[in-house]
Symmetry: C2
Subunit: 133 residues, 2 copies
DNA sequence: CTACGGTATTCGATGAATCGAATACTTCCG
DNA sequence: CGGAAGTATTCGATTCATCGAATACCGTAG
């Protein structure tokens, strides 16, 4: 089962991704390491702002840097994660539209499965949402 | 090339995911359609709040509902996207740590590749960040 | 029609995110 | 040492997100 998702941490990670400038930064870094001034030209944003976003990404452990003399070369420290995330949000999945009947069938399937797997688990079952029409 | 990412839209999509309660809702819906009161028990949140989060998810085209009498059965309208996203934020990728030398080598590789592919593209090349030590 | 269960929306308060401006810090060079 | 280039941090203002409370809405049962 996939029960192990910790919503707090996962949401924090996602928040780090959830900004246009940060996405653009990650996309640039996917091509290779860059320093802040490089990005300043590629994206149009002020240096301070980029540094701020990099701080967020660093805190989320998405990027890290290596000091190279006076400048800092940033790179992705979880490149697979970033690549997969960018691919995921870039692709467009078909949107499914389901009828009330399909949903109903689904709910019943689910209800049955739950009841089957509940050998005295937790509280009593709560009967709800019976089929109508 | 993966040049086609629209950061604004992608960030909006990610923002819809970026909340613990919404992640929990999506996780629940992955198991099957549910109505608001079902969720009210599963997550601990007030009804109004869940409705608010559902509105966000609806706006992001992540969920939709089918009216079933007095109640609304919510379901994922892009189940693959949601499943992949939850899997992605759930898994933990190894964090890579790179030395200054590796980064430097990478930058040079990239610089060379860029220069090779730029047949008079854009502005003049700007020499930057030469190797030191 | 009225009442009620289930759900949505509006409102106001509080806290978080974002940005530019200013400034501090660090490393190299002369 | 002093200055410059590159980058980070702090600050204050503004916008955005989130939540509970209250209330509106809607479909069904009486």
């Amino acid at each position: 089962m996939v029960e192990t998702l910790e919503p707090r941490m996962a949401a924090d990670l996602l928040k780090a991704f959830s900004h246009p400038t940060r996405l653009a930064i990650l996309q640039e870094l996917l091509a290779g390491p860059k320093c802040v001034t490089d990005m300043e030209e590629l994206l149009d944003a002020r240096q301070a702002n980029i540094s701020q976003h990099l701080a967020v990404l660093r805190y989320a452990r998405l990027v890290d840097f290596a000091q190279d003399g006076a400048l800092r070369c940033y790179y992705l420290c979880r490149p697979r994660l970033v690549a997969d995330m960018l691919a995921l949000v870039g692709r467009d999945d078909p949107v499914v539209k389901r009828s009330a009947e399909e949903i109903q069938a689904d709910k019943e399937r689910l209800a049955k499965a739950l009841e089957r797997s509940s050998k005295k688990t937790k509280k009593a079952a709560r009967p709800r949402a019976a089929a109508k029409r």
